[in-house]
């Protein structure tokens, strides 16, 4: 996207977007100094407690009771328990549905579509739409939960009133569909912003050329737009997947129910760690979640490398 500006012949062969060498004369020492403040905070308040948490994962540590003062080292016991727990399988599967449906498909498609359509709308329309979409993103989770309960309520819900389906218990009959749609509503803003920016970076001349050549919208997207925004798309996918995977807000709407039918991973951890005080077990689940996240990240990175090839 950016022409390689380095004079080094070695760097010239590098793919674009990789300012590999130090053209601005920062120097490693100064670069380290630039990174240091963030790194210190991250090491102290993130890496350290995270490693500690991972250590708790091999103990039977609890918040209260005998195991709170004298936790025992239990090796991989928590992990074998997690992997054997039917609730974990259920929850992992639901989470993958949740991520796939709401983040990968929903937010990405809707976010891109809004960004694409808004390019040619009048400023007033564009601003209104963007403001509303962003509002859904920045409102606090606890507020948002009430909004959706009021929308989907069995008796007086706005949705039932509009569809003329009084008494339909959406949250009980279709809990997963509800939280998927909810999360599309909640998180589309990020994808929308990212794609708006990415589309702004597509040279207008490319679109002009496509138009002159009589290409359909679909062809334009595929041939002129997609190659240009692929890097952005992967960033967006990676982040929204991670966020959605760890998102706790669905719990505020369905409480994981009915019958654990919407108990995504974050709700599962919450119940074991905070509800039952089983911190060792909860820590083990966290690591398993991290590994699943890692797999997702790897999948995206492979896709990214294929783009480079």
């Amino acid at each position: 996207m950016v022409p390689a500006t380095s004079t080094r012949t070695e760097a010239a062969r590098e793919p674009v977007r990789e300012e590999a060498t130090d053209v601005v004369g920062l120097g490693r020492r100064r670069a380290a100094a630039f990174v240091a403040p963030a790194l210190v905070l991250i090491v102290v308040f993130l890496v350290f407690p995270a490693l500690w948490t991972l250590y708790l994962g091999v103990t039977d540590y609890r918040l209260t009771g005998l195991a709170a003062t004298h936790p025992h080292f239990t090796g991989v016991r928590n992990y074998t328990d997690v992997l054997a727990d039917g609730r974990f399988h259920n929850s992992l599967w639901l989470t993958l549905e949740f991520v796939g449906g709401s983040a990968v498909l929903g937010q990405t498609v809707l976010g891109f579509s809004v960004a694409w359509v808004m390019r040619e709308r009048p400023a007033a329309v564009r601003r209104t739409v963007e403001a509303l979409v962003l509002l859904a993103w920045i409102l606090p989770g606890s507020v948002v939960a009430f909004l959706w309960l009021a929308l989907l309520d069995r008796d007086g819900g706005t949705l039932n009133a509009m569809l003329g389906t009084p008494g339909t218990a959406w949250l009980l009959d279709h809990p997963m569909a509800c939280i998927v749609v909810f999360n599309v509503w909640r998180g589309t803003a990020f994808s929308m912003m990212l794609y708006t920016a990415a589309l702004g970076n597509v040279p207008p001349s490319h679109l002009e050329t496509a138009k002159l050549a009589g290409a359909s919208t679909w062809q334009t997207l595929r041939d002129a737009v997609l190659p240009k925004i692929r890097g952005h798309a992967l960033t967006s996918l990676l982040l929204v997947s991670l966020w959605t995977f760890n998102d706790f807000t669905p719990f505020l709407i369905t409480a994981g129910g009915p019958e654990n039918r919407s108990e995504v991973m974050s709700a599962y951890v919450y119940r074991t760690a905070l509800g039952e005080g089983r911190l060792g077990f909860g820590a083990a689940i966290s690591l398993v979640m991290l590994l699943v996240n890692l797999l997702i990240a790897f999948a995206y990175l492979r896709a990214l490398r294929r783009r480079r090839a």
Binding site: E19, V35, F45, L147, A283
Partner: protein, 271 residues
């Protein structure tokens, strides 16, 4: 013909999007003004009483101030530190930076989860950070920084270094270059990371709740949960009203930032 169809399709799409995003917010527009609200949207028996009750509440307004302190503090640290780090990481290849960045990104999901609360709490106790706003700010910053760096590095990677080279030729120091050349270019990115940070802090309940003892220091996310009865039933009149008050500052911030900094990802430089 084709353009007409296209326009109709686009208008329909825009209306649907508007409806989809606006519909759930109706409750926030109606319930606070209702004397006896339910979990449903209804035309309110108009009253401002709910607001009056909250104005008299000893914690409600102060909690909004506290939220502003926490959010602004965290956003300042996150934006500045992340910008510095992202810039350096983008322009100089430190060993293993990409692997490290990914690992940190993944680890941050552990920290934001509930399982890490004991380590974080005991750490804060040792550092004498319990019951202080600074403690909450630092803990939250640590968790948010990797994502912020990741986002901003993506931005800086996407901007050409040629201007910085030019600045260097004219003898600007790296900090000057960052301040006067890079920051203006990635400003939309900084604005976006800032807003993201504020939204995260604004909604976070668990950390401020655990780390702060004095209710006078509690942010709005914590006070929001006080409007329940002893049995856990919500006082909908106060909750809806407080929700509205609680939401207004972030909306104002968004409007302000988007007006001043053009809250977008635009690369900024025409090429």
């Amino acid at each position: 013909m084709r353009t007409a169809l296209r326009r109709i399709a686009a208008t329909t799409f825009v209306s649907l999007v508007l409806a989809f995003f606006a519909l759930p917010m109706l409750w926030l527009a109606s319930a606070p003004f209702d004397a006896n609200p339910k979990i449903q949207v209804s035309l309110p028996g108009f009253t401002l009483d709910n607001f009056r009750v909250l104005l008299d509440d000893p914690y409600a307004l102060r909690s909004l101030e506290n939220s502003v302190i926490l959010a602004a503090g965290t956003a300042a640290i996150v934006v500045v530190f992340a910008a510095l780090a992202a810039y350096a990481l983008s322009r100089v290849r430190l060993p293993g930076r990409d692997v490290l960045l990914y690992l940190l990104l993944l680890l941050s999901s552990i920290i934001t989860g509930t399982a890490a609360m004991v380590p974080i709490f005991l750490l804060a106790t040792q550092l004498h950070l319990v019951d202080s706003h600074l403690g909450v700010v630092l803990v939250l910053s640590g968790g948010l920084l990797p994502t912020a760096i990741f986002l901003l590095k993506d931005f800086t990677d996407a901007t050409p270094a040629s201007y910085e080279e030019a600045a260097r030729v004219f003898g600007a120091s790296p900090l000057q270059t960052l301040r006067h050349v890079v920051v203006p270019v990635i400003r939309p990115g900084l604005a976006m990371v800032g807003i993201w940070t504020v939204a995260q802090v604004w909604g976070d309940f668990l950390m401020p709740f655990l780390l702060l003892r004095d209710p006078d220091k509690a942010p709005a996310s914590v006070i929001m949960y006080t409007f329940y009865t002893e049995g856990g039933q919500p006082d909908l009149a106060l909750i809806s009203t407080f929700s509205l008050l609680y939401s207004v500052p972030v909306v104002l911030m968004y409007l302000l930032v988007s007006r001043r900094y053009g809250f977008r990802f635009h690369g900024g430089i025409k090429r």
